[in-house]
Every structure is written in C-alpha cells, then in structure tokens.
Amino acid sequence: MQIEIEMITQPIQPRRELPAALAGLAGAVAEFTGIVRAEENGRPVAALEYEAYAPMAEREMRRIIEAVGREHPCLAVRVIHRVGVIPVGEAAIYVAAFAPHRAEAFAMLTKFMDRLKQDVPIWKVRAIEQP
C-alpha cells in the first residue's frame, strides 16, 4: 500500500490522480474533504487556526492507515492536512483512498477520519471571528 502524507500551510490542491503504478488496478477512489464552516460551536467565524505536532501527526496518520489497511486492503492512500489559519470555505483536510473495489476505499476513508479525530495530534487552537 502506497502512503502519501503531506502537512502544508498553503491551500490544499486535491490530487485525485492515480499513482501511475496502479493504473488498471484501482476500481474505486473515495475522497473526503473537510472544509472550515462559517460556524464553530454555534458562533460565527471567519477562519480557524490549526496547529500540529507535525512529526508525530505524520507518524500517527501512517500508523492508522497501515492498521486500517490490514483489515481493508487499499492500493494507496493520500492525505493532505493544512495547518495555520484556514478561512471559511477552504479545506483543512483532504484524503483519497484507492482500492480495487469501493468497500475497502469507503472503509479506509471513514475509519481513517474517525481515528484521526481521536489520535492525531492536530488542534483547532483559535477561532477568528468575523470582523
């Protein structure tokens, strides 16, 4: 299973394209994009600031993907998490799972996101209010 993890401070450019080695093998691509909403805990916001313990966050993401992949084998998983100040309407995370069939790709995507939200050391540290 090919794993690509990026943590960036610039806007996320989702990359759906298949790793070249997987052409013809992947029948399913499942993607998730998490976007900053205009409301956080019931209050209007203009942006959220995210912080990460980056080396551990990358390691945890890899560990989760490998663990989920043992139960739901995928061909490749790509994660891009943005940190810093992220304006409303822009993506904080993008995940793509490539698998022969859709069940594995969906399971990877949903389980990865559940565990990310439990274990990956990334925090919303500040809500920036609307001016």
Partner: protein, 79 residues
C-alpha cells in the same frame, strides 16, 4: 528531556517547550510530578492529557529517558 506543549496547554505554561533533567529513566508519574512542580496549573489537565514519547503515545508502563522528546497531547481536534 525536552517537553513540548501544544494547543491550550501553551496558554497554561506560557511556553512551547521546556527542558527537564532525569538522572535515570522515569515513569509517567515521575514526569508529571516534575511538570506540575514547574507549572502547578498543569495538574488539572493530568486526567485528559496523554503523554507521547518520541512521537508515539506512551503506554501505561512506558519509561522516559533523559534523551527523549516528550509531548503533552491534549484532546485533538484535527480534520
């Protein structure tokens, strides 16, 4: 031992990192005792903060060495 603070814990400690020294390897309780000595306000986060040792969550029986990087991980909220 380098200790790292993240998220709202930094508002408590008013610093992102500190150095502490252990003559020999310590368990989690010993690390916490040293932390609370320096920053008493950390005491009330003991129950909801996990310790990571060299970028991995530390199990209950982990030993922490002086050369380790230890991070206090408050509840996460990524994604």
């Amino acid at each position: 031992m380098r200790i790292l603070f993240f998220g709202h814990l930094r508002d408590v400690t008013r610093c992102a990192r500190m150095e502490v020294h252990f003559d020999e390897s310590a368990d989690a309780d010993a690390v916490w005792r040293k932390l609370i000595e320096s920053h008493p306000a950390l005491a009330r986060f003991h129950g909801c903060v996990r310790l990571a040792r060299n970028c991995e969550y530390a199990g209950a029986d982990a030993r922490f060495a002086d050369a380790d990087e230890v991070a206090l991980i408050p509840p996460v909220s990524g994604g």
